[in-house]
Amino acid sequence: MAIKLTMSGKFMTATLLPQVLGIALFIGLWGLIALTSPNLPGPIKTWDSAVELFSNPFYENGPNDQGIGWNILSSLQRVGIGFGLAALIGIPLGFMVGRFDFLDKMTSPIVSMLRPVSPLAWLPIGLLVFKAANPAAIWVIFISCIWPMIINTAMGVRQLPQDYLNVARVLKLSEWKIFTKILFPATLPFVLTGIRLSIGTAWLVIVAAEMLTGGIGIGFWVWDEWNNLNVEHIIIAIFVVGMIGLLLEKILVWLAKRFSY
């Protein structure tokens, strides 16, 4: 009991205190800047606005006026679908690229050239091909997720220690057993890193993509509030996007920890 108490006391001073202090300083600074610049709402005004906004997050006033909850869910859904498709194609492709040198050499110039391109540059192509905003936004997410998925999965396969392959050879395991008992578990941590990077980028990109495509979504919501000159809501959106991004990251790090050996 005593140990627990001192532990939690230590946690308070070592972890919680600096964090609270940092946040308080940040809010103080923000309040100060807001005092000198009349267009920027301060923390208190923003807080009041947030309380009102989140008192009814799931209202629906026709297709273009919906609660912030719906906007967040729509964005998450796009990220989910775009990421899911990228994983469905990227992970098997990564396994093959990692396993077969020929395929690696075939794909590596294309991947290296396309990877540095901002996924938003692919938006017009998406609009052209799909002729609709929603699939085009998903397409952009797909593009932002596909490169980290392929690259990290392939890296995981390539780094597979020779020792494990020797075990497989000595036991003369079947290809299926090699995949399920050796290749897949050995590569899983790398795949999870790919997933984490993908989701991180996707969440960055979705806000910008939705600003361009419109519809329901946190990105378009920000754009809409800018047009309404509702700056409090824009600041709230920044916090919401940040917190959801942090939450996604935390979940994926926790998942990766569970599968690291």
Binding site: D163, Y164, N166, V167, R169, V170, L171, K172, L173, K177, K181, I182, P185, A186, Y261
Partner: protein
């Protein structure tokens, strides 16, 4: 001569590797006959080609020329009839001790035995190396010596014709090593295994082997000499300490390593 006396066989084996600097001949003119039930150690300076020779027996490498046989058949690749204990244990970290051994047991006996029998075999293998208490532990949860014992249990669980071990105790502290050597002697006596073991430890070689195969330095290393260890079984390390014949054999090996084939400082 019957197959029992040439149970494992290497004839005029030569092994060369293709490197960036051209061909590198690691082993040349290797001739070795191992009887069934014999315990052989390969000893030689670091880099002389001990692991290479062991991997040839394992089938992980194919000789550049010459022939290798095991139990009357040419060695065409690795197979569960030759159990390998790797230097760094090579356990799969995502499987428990049970899972690691079960993978091997399932591979060898899965077609002919029931799941219950396979489980029984796995547990027996763990019991053989006194690790029943670690059945459900993961490799990172057990000590280096225990990992090496799981590696040995995995190799033995396949009931191989030959047990091949590459410096299995090399990375362990002296006390753990001595303990595992004693355990290995008991297991080998009980299972009548044929063993080829790589070591760089003279005491280990004399204690365990029926015959010590001493290798010259590379490149193009070969078998310089073999030494019959005619000490009675079972052997006891305490009794051997005051045995003059043991010391004679030991100095034979030392003479080979440090006089006839001393390694020139690199």
């Amino acid at each position: 001569m019957n197959t029992l006396q040439k149970y494992v066989l290497a004839e005029n084996v030569r092994m060369s590797f293709d490197t960036k600097q051209g061909k590198f001949v690691a082993l040349e003119n290797i001739n070795l006959r191992i009887s069934k039930g014999e315990f052989i150690t390969l000893i030689g300076h670091s880099g002389c080609g001990k692991s290479t020779l062991l991997n040839l027996f394992a089938g992980l490498l194919a000789p550049s020329s010459g022939f290798m046989f095991c139990a009357g058949r040419e060695i065409a690749g690795p197979g569960p009839d030759r159990g390998v204990v790797f230097q760094n244990h090579s356990l799969l970290p995502w499987l428990t001790c049970f899972g690691n051994i079960h993978l091997a047991v399932e591979r060898v006996f899965g077609a002919t035995e029931s799941p219950l029998q396979l489980k029984q075999r796995t547990l027996e293998a763990l019991a053989l190396v006194h690790l029943s208490h670690a059945t459900d532990k993961y490799p990172h949860e057990i000590s280096g010596g225990m990992k090496q014992r799981v590696g040995i249990a995995r190799a033995l669980s396949m009931q191989p014709n030959v047990l091949l071990m590459d410096e299995p105790f090399g990375a362990l502290d002296a006390l753990t090593r001595a303990h595992l050597q004693d355990e290995l002697m008991k297991i080998v006596a009980a299972t009548q295994s044929t063993v080829v073991m790589v070591t760089h430890d003279v005491d280990e070689a004399v204690l365990l082997s029926d015959r010590i195969v001493m290798m010259t330095n590379g490149p193009a290393a070969t078998i310089g000499s073999t030494l019959d260890v005619d000490l009675p079984q079972p052997r006891d390390r305490m009794a051997l300490a005051s045995n003059t014949h043991y010391h004679l054999l030991r100095s034979e090996v030392l003479k080979f390593l440090y006089q006839k084939h001393a390694k020139t400082a690199a």
